[in-house]
Symmetry: D2
């Protein structure tokens, strides 16, 4: 089978009949025809088509070590810097196709699963751990080009530092039973982006499990597994018009609460369970951080280029290039872009083979990028708003341009270098990126991609090697 | 007649039949029943009803010096500090009713018109100036409780510092002719908030007119004047549900481009025209800045209290009060609120009678507030997003709570101190204020209320008296 | 006796013979002639002379309720708003004389002692508490115009949140014994500004005393008490030239570690001891916060005016007024100044009588100012550096102007509106305020005036009333 | 001769007898024994000794293409990436020796001169241009290991945008005559760091010369040339104690005004004169920006490592590692450091041969670093002050530790992990770096290294290629 195209993807998803709740109703009919899901599914399909684009097919696939078929390169377990550069190229292709706007293009989760599988040995010979299941799930995904979402956050009932859940019914998903067929899961997880829109859902655990080892598990199951359902948030799709809603009409990905109603996870799907130490160690030491952050950074660079281009087009549209504060704001975006690119290069320059022979990018520059981008992105959105000023509000609809008042719009809304309709397109895009419900959700998404920014910053400090530097101070001052 | 109630307001607006274009179509039928306008019109009606609320009627009206009838207190021309405090009280009532969310509650424009009329003497004996027309229009408005919008910005074709319009057809509205009945206006103005939803539209000019004196004019005409039309931007109404869209369902005010298609403005409606010097001097020296900024600051204080309360409710809902960075963020809002309140007090403490006997608040602290709030408000919105975190995304719809999955929502979405539905209400409000298309338009609105923030800051510096302070340095250093 | 003049102050301090260690040696000879102390003592003397300046004497003194003599108005226990305004006026006079640069002008500690005495009733009938001693010490200070320093911070060995001192010898000053004559104190306190340069030292405790009740005490003793010594830090006096070191030559106040080497504190000097609860309650509820913060804010306003004047003189000197980023920076200082003034007015507007009949300023706006200024001041210093640019470095000495190269300096260092010598004076002042060792110590001093800025912000939040605001949200959303 | 050692450097400088004015007097006697210059000269001497350190000599020198002798590697004109890496290594050695504190270590100006010589062909066949003089001066410098300062800024009389000098006597240095021996220069330049402390002074022009072509020249002359003199600013040397003044005792570099009193510059020393176009083109297109920014960034990275180490030692000294705001501040320094390192790598990765065969680092990432560091450095200094808090003030002198009170200091000033003396050393260093007059001059120096930060940011924007990015927007939106 190997790398699929868009049509195959759509057919497979439509066939699943996953239980999805949207706006108080269970979805019936084909998902790909649902007004709120057709846009994102078509966009995903067009991404899969890239794998068969003759111009780049070579850069998008590789021969499966198992079947020899051409499979998606995001599943490639890199063993050399060359492999790493290939991965970068492939990620750039995926990202460029959506200008970095689609947060969960398939390569992200393929990368996550690849990193897990490449670190499966960490689970070897540990209680309740099944590395071979993990490898099998990975190989199956690779050779059939399955798509995934993941979920690892527990419901936000109480974020206090010392909270212990004491509800009678499980809130956070837990192992509530165990049979000869598998483990039984009850409770919820949130927030799965594209939850329900993928072949499978990858469930794993992050954090500490001193008091609740029954929350320490990892597995992957098909989205249409019995007892599994997805509850969607409100949709941020603005409408179908590509002019009025250039982004949300294509890229509204949806986020869902994942509900496990006594879901049976078959043994061959379980990677580990009821082993907090193994769960923590696995998450800490596997190559997830290196590979996932590598993918994310590449996408964010493409997105930043999009932001930079858009900002400049705004500037030209209303001719504000000469203002010094505009120049300073643009220099901020440029500094951000160049910094991200440089950090990516540094992570690749300093990549090294891990203990199992996989070429990991250096995680430190990637962590730095992961701490920086959540601050840069909201500022970029603010800069766009500050450049656009009142133009961000003066937004007639596409229909108005097809009505009797077109002539007036053409006259009064023209830009310095643009016709009225082009000007409106530009401002609509700026608005959809930074001010629509779709856009602000993207801001929140980028801000919290790797978790609470405060914690991310603390972690960077705690994990950073400082001894060489403090030793130099000791020597300079002749300290005892 | 005097101060009207909500019903009278609605009837009058419905009767006008103003030419309004929305989403490519001219509005027919009653405006108050149009899905995109009924919310804001009902909210405005409820504001007018306040004038007849027996508990506060005394604080909302005063006896017209002309008719003796009880008229709206926002039309009061204050002659003492007592009058000023009365005005503050009245503005607080209006603002509290919408928590400061409605930017253009009627008192704003009533205040603007009052300030113009109170400075009419500036126009006395100047070429093409008619102070008595201004006074008459004001008295008519006061005694009939007319509602207004205003418009003073020209289209944003080209914001370069040296731009001169050279289109064949007027883009910015201009005087294109003059008859014995009045002046003829052609071109556009933007962006009138609630444009089309008021009895009249007040048109005046801001800025320098060295090269285009034909843009220097001021008048007020009924919204349904022949040749006058309003082109709406896209609507930011999210929907009718008070739970899903607690703010936009009530307060989406709409902004419009105002088009003058050879509109005849009768002489008795013209305040001045074709006199750039008079226009500049009038805008510079009239009491507009003092009284409008006084009204705006009072509303912004009420809004800031709403933001503070909401932030605290968010904190309690997910129990994050103990985090130090949360405490620091809350202290930012508190500092902002107390600062605004103090600046308001200072402007009233230092109020003084102007040359025509009206008690003007001190404009300097008001200018400071007007420079500060555009920076504070976006930061407040960011703080709400940072407190809410992923909860700002986990937003099911009201309908979901009326469906079979209610039980699951109740379980998984409960807050530390709230039921699931209450928790969702709280986060929905936080989202509608800071992240919906309605909310981000509010941010842009507050950011640009008194114009380009860069220019506002420069103006504060240029107008601030510094000599006392520089003299002290000279003395301290014995400078020549 | 009553309010003293400068000469009397100098004589009294010289006579004390306090044990002060400076740069590795014990000071012998007259303190007022010591190169590192004469500047500050003369500046203090000139402040005392203000009390006898015929133009303002009335505003600087009042009749002692005990002796009827004219005593310093900083000792006035205000019973009305009039009294509060009198206090403000007096503080402004003191502050204006040093442009707010002297942090510990005598009125500060006089105010502290006044606030303690005015709250003495809090100590009534509590274990180990002696309210009448406190009142007596206060009356004696008032009627003899004694000067004070204070010290309430323990040595910064370990700032960890759970640190418990376990040194064999006391590090933080403790009660180590008790005789019929008084209590015995051993250990150190830091950092007393002007420690050793005042008649007495006021020692009291701040914070929690769960495990170390022996650190909970308060008393005042003469600086020359046996066993008491002051260890100075390095001096930040740059030199005697008023041109080269316009500030440090006059206002270098010195900070000292206060060492108690088995110091006997006579009973009549002890306010309380070994009573942690009383100490905490006293510090929490006495009027110290209200009155001290009132004095400090008035001084900081005067200092901010000085900063604003200096910045403008810098701008004029090198003619950079037209640059927009300069205008924006100046608007920042203006916003800061107006905000501080407004907060002061608000604290006075809302002043109220406390339970013992004293008119306390509202502490909330003062707390806000106390949270704000530590952020504003360092930014102001940065703005001065950004305006001055390379001119902050191009600093020849006064001597160079009295040498053969004067002509060259006159030519090459002239400013746009200033002679070379005046230009150098201006930049020297800017440098001494923001970049000399004296200046940066001032920055640190203002930043930490009321303690760790993080904690100050948290306290503001924790003590701020929020219920009214959260109730409104509950009502708006119809929460349960 | 080739690469010299420290002793040779000192002897040469002492022998010059350059005319230097310090604190109103002309310096007589040996410069290396002058209290205010001996520290920096010894530090420079120790840098030259590095060239003969057997461990790194190979990395510090290369064989002169002319003499075959080992000459300083900072003079190497790189022709390959290998050469570039060699240069990096050498710069790191110089920088590490002073922890990046010495801004003008000899490699900086050697690099500048090397870059000029490597671009000499730009001057070929242009009016009044002498590329062969430039090459000769460079080769002489390389083979004799001469040291340089440079000066290119005109006096800051009036920084207005439209200022035209109209003094009768030249203020900015100008060509005032021309003989068969050379050109005559009169006027001043500022601010030459280490002016007077080097063998030669390199004078060149930056900027536009529409109205004053007589200011467009470049040459290098010995410091003791007749008519040339250096007027020092005040010294920021705090004292000789390495404990009290660990940095200023070694690295106070001094800045001087350079005065030309009818100085004759011999023709063989003139690179160009009276040719504004050539001057502008040369400065714009020569490899100065690439190579100088490369050297500067490497030094700034070393300095940032020093800052990071010092901050961590401070944290350990008072045990504040657990505070979250401390962790966040440290993450800021780490982000800064990693970003600078990544930008350096990127500039080297993308280095390319210029038209004359020299391997230039990519200037864009270097420009980004040059825009970023002036913002990072002052923030780093603020972070140090915020970590150190009151400890930055509690600074006894070394002498105090050699006096009778040592025991008390040992007890009361001990740190959590340090003896009192070590603790004081650490805080003294933090103070000397961030708060002494030496430290704040360093801050201003880093802030303005490549000129006005506002202009640097504007230049980054104006020179950055944007078309690829705007084209993508056009394509995405189907713009005309």
């Amino acid at each position: 089978m190997g790398a699929i195209n868009g049509e195959a993807f759509i057919q497979r998803i439509d066939k699943l009949g996953t239980e999805i709740w949207f706006d108080g109703a269970k979805i019936n009919g084909l998902l790909s025809e649902h007004p709120h899901f057709k846009g994102i599914l078509q966009s995903k399909a067009s991404l899969y088509d890239l794998q068969h684009d003759p111009n780049i097919k070579e850069e998008m696939t590789f021969a499966s070590p198992k079947t020899g078929e051409a499979v998606g390169l995001s599943f490639l377990q890199p063993k050399s810097k060359e492999d790493l550069y290939k991965r970068r190229k492939m990620i750039q292709h995926w990202a460029a196709h959506t200008n970095g706007i689609m947060g969960r293009s398939p390569d992200y989760l393929n990368t996550v699963l690849m990193s897990f599988a490449s670190s499966a040995e960490l689970l070897r010979n540990q209680k309740n751990c099944f590395p071979e299941h993990l490898i099998k799930v990975f190989e199956n995904a690779r050779d059939r080009d399955l798509s995934f979402t993941h979920t690892f956050i527990t419901p936000q009932v109480n974020r206090s530092q010392v909270y212990i859940e004491n509800s009678k019914l499980p809130i956070a998903a837990k192992v509530v039973g165990e049979t000869d067929q598998g483990i039984i899961i009850k409770g919820a997880r949130l927030l799965a982006t594209q939850g329900g829109l993928t072949d499978e859902v990858l469930v794993f655990s992050v954090g500490r499990f001193l008091f609740n080892e029954d929350e320490a598990f990892a597995f992957s199951i098909p989205s249409n597994t019995k007892g599994l359902s997805f509850i969607c948030r409100d949709s941020f799709l603005g409408g179908d018009s590509r002019i009025d809603h250039p982004l949300s009409s294509q890229y509204e990905e949806m986020d869902s609460i994942v509900v496990f109603d006594d879901v049976l996870v078959p043994w061959e799907r379980v990677f580990y369970y009821n082993n907090g130490d193994a769960a923590e160690e696995f998450f800490e030491e596997c190559s997830f951080h290196a590979f996932a952050k590598h993918q994310v950074l590449i996408r964010q660079i493409v997105k930043t280029e999009f932001i930079l281009g858009l900002s400049q087009v705004l500037i030209e549209t209303i001719n504000v290039r000469e203002f010094q504060h505009i120049q300073e704001k643009m220099s901020e975006i440029i500094i951000g872009l160049e910094t991200l690119k440089a950090l990516l290069e540094r992570s690749e320059n300093n990549a090294a083979l891990d203990q199992w022979g996989y070429m990991r990018p250096d995680v430190t520059p990637l962590k730095v990028a992961g701490t920086l981008f959540p601050k840069l992105y909201p500022r970029f959105m603010e800069i766009i708003q500050l450049i656009g000023a009142s133009g961000m509000i003066t937004l007639p609809t596409e229909k108005a341009f097809h009505s009797d008042i077109r002539e007036k719009l053409d006259l009064y809304l023209q830009g310095a270098t643009k016709t009225a309709i082009d000007r409106v397109k530009v401002f609509r895009l700026a608005w959809d990126l930074s001010m629509s419900a779709f856009g602000t959700r993207q801001t929140q998404y980028e801000r919290y991609f790797f978790g609470d920014p405060i914690r991310v910053a603390s972690d960077l400090y705690k994990s950073y090697p400082l001894k060489t530097h403090t030793d130099k101070i000791g020597k300079f001052l002749n300290l005892d």
